[in-house]
Amino acid sequence: MKNIFYYLVLIILIISCSSHQEKTEISNNSWEQVSEIAKGETVNLMMWKGDPLINKYMSDYVVPELQKQYGVTLNIIEGQGNSIVSLLMTEIETNKQKSEVDMVWINGETFYQLRQINSLYGPFVERLPNSQYVNWENPFIAYDFQQAVEGYECPWGNVQMAFIYNSDKVQNQPMNLNELEIWVKAHPGKFTIGNEFTGMTLLKSWLIYLAGGKDSLSGKFDVEKYLKYSTQLWEYLNRIKPYFWNNGKSFPSSIAQMHQLFANGELWFTMSNNDGEVDNKMIQGIFPESSRAYVPETGTIQNSHYLGIVSHSANKEAAMVICNFLISPEAQFKKMQPSVWGDHTILSISKLPVGWQQKFKEIPGRKYTPERADIQDKALMEPAPEYMIRTFDDFRKEVMEK
């Protein structure tokens, strides 16, 4: 028995030590050859499937169009952020040659993690014909968590964080931290922050505001700055925490839970990383009719979400064809309609052919949230990934556990 145990430990050691990843050679094929290779292939895309409108866009529009136009079958698998990272880490650790997943829908935090473990294929974006229309001049698209995208992920949509409130209950929206403190104390139990990505995005926005706004936390992680301003942030949060939902003793662990608490009236505020979500949720009948969105004068983080191709995918060409379609004017135009998804485009309208420019200009405006142009001056860039990691850890230590 003893010997067997030692052998097993030895085997595991050998397996773990021998795990390595072969560097993927970038194909030199022309785009016509790439499209030809892609025909008849099936691509597995892992993405968050928590929104019925997004799912409908994918299943009723993207999947049939890909089959019709390119002969590519798109198979969508449920999974996001940490489940993508866990899956790919396990595959790389076990030296799996062909991944179960070819493409992933990611944001900056996952991009940072996947780049750490070298699980993204690239650079590939510049090879997509439609990348010529992408608004690379916009730093909110070209940079993700202060990291240059460098062709390792293809921008798909752009969003800005917004507060969502019940206008029947909240007549004067708090516009800064002082006003929010007064409001929260006057309305105990009606506000909270999620202990998840959106909540952390809000805390980072406040950190930037406390540090002096806009570019104050740009560049590499600065531990001194972080400690100075996060201390102020924790003091502020601890001051108002007793007036949070459930007396600040627990915090929603997902944005879906926040939305649910808002929809059933327990909360009068929720928030979203997508400034267009309030329209989207009202079309679905999830939020009350009095729901409205706004961006306070403290500003909120704007960022983009992207598509990545897995480094050990066996269907890279077909995945590239799909990326190219998803950033095409037609797919982006469809996605931007508030009744379809309401996701802001990553294309530069001025770079598009005149006919498409006109079409984009005619997209019906948002009803319950300010137009993007009106909140653009309050947009803050994502700080370096370490701010997210430290904020998440310290929010637990300094606020939740106190």
Partner: protein, 280 residues
């Protein structure tokens, strides 16, 4: 095929299906926690264990998991004993059959159901509001995500108490409890005396291994505390999951160290229990 061969195949199959994955999983976590496996590690180190042991949350998490387990078990066993006592006396088959209903609920569904029953916007709160006993959603006492983990304990009772009731009834039949009761009553024992001196100790002793198994199940519960618990403190499994799947990939080895700690704790409890049984 000889009997020895059959026995060998059976033992081998059991070994492959249970012991080998356990050793491999534990071994892998052990190596990961010492920096000897995993993408984010760079070689042998005590750093991850030092970080984990320096974190007071480790002890709070273990203490909280034990609190949930003991309180849940206390109520589960108390209700199951009282209910089985009543059913043994009444011989009510209709109620007995109803006990099987909660067993069909997976823990996650049960957790959601209790959330919708007990939350401030839930069914009870709405009924209370309808009858004018509350005027606002915030007047309703917090029974989920609450300080005393009422929602978690209630869900555990709902999920497990019927099983123990069925088990106690079957065990009572096996022990001819009805006849024992008649004899003890004839000899002048009261109902309370019979319950406390015969019924309860006999059933608890006979089902002790299963009680231990459920204690292990409860200490490792995940879905129910995830949905109905507070953000802090967390149950052991929620702590491990957070460490392994959140933003900081450098925390993964600490998650593995916690998994090793949890496994050692469980193996320790089980070993002590087995020794105790052997000595009795």
């Amino acid at each position: 095929m000889t009997n020895d061969m059959k026995k060998g195949i059976l033992i081998g199959t059991y070994f492959i299906l249970t012991i080998v994955p356990l050793i491999m999983g534990l071994g892998y976590s052990l190596l990961y926690s010492f920096g000897m496996a995993g993408l984010m590690n760079n070689g042998f180190t005590f750093e991850h264990w030092q970080k984990l042991l320096a974190n007071s949350e480790l002890f709070i998490t273990i203490g909280y998991s034990i609190y949930i387990t003991l309180f849940s078990l206390f109520f589960i066993l108390t209700f199951a004993l009282l209910f089985s006592w009543w059913l043994v006396l009444k011989k009510n088959n209709y109620v007995f059959n109803l006990l099987f209903l909660p067993l069909a609920f997976p823990p996650l569904i049960a957790a959601f159901s209790w959330y919708y029953i007990l939350s401030p916007a839930g069914i009870i709160s709405r009924i209370v509001y309808y009858f004018g006993m509350t005027t606002d959603i915030s007047d309703f006492p917090r029974l989920v995500n609450d300080d005393y983990s009422v929602g978690i304990i209630l869900t555990h009772i709902f999920l497990i108490f019927p099983l123990f009731t069925i088990l106690f009834i079957q065990q009572a039949k096996k022990e001819r409890m009805y006849s024992l009761k008649e004899i003890s009553f004839t000899l002048g024992s009261t109902k309370n005396q019979f319950f406390l001196k015969v019924f309860m100790p006999l059933l608890l002793k006979k089902t002790a291994p299963l009680i231990l198994l459920y204690a292990i199940f409860l200490i490792g519960a995940y879905e129910v505390p995830l949905l109905l618990g507070q953000s802090s403190p967390r149950m052991i499994t929620v702590f491990i999951s957070d460490k392994m799947t959140r933003f900081n990939l450098q925390d993964i080895p600490q998650g593995h160290a916690m998994a090793v700690t949890y496994s050692v704790l469980i193996i320790g409890i089980t070993t002590l229990f087995i020794r105790k049984i052997k000595t009795v």
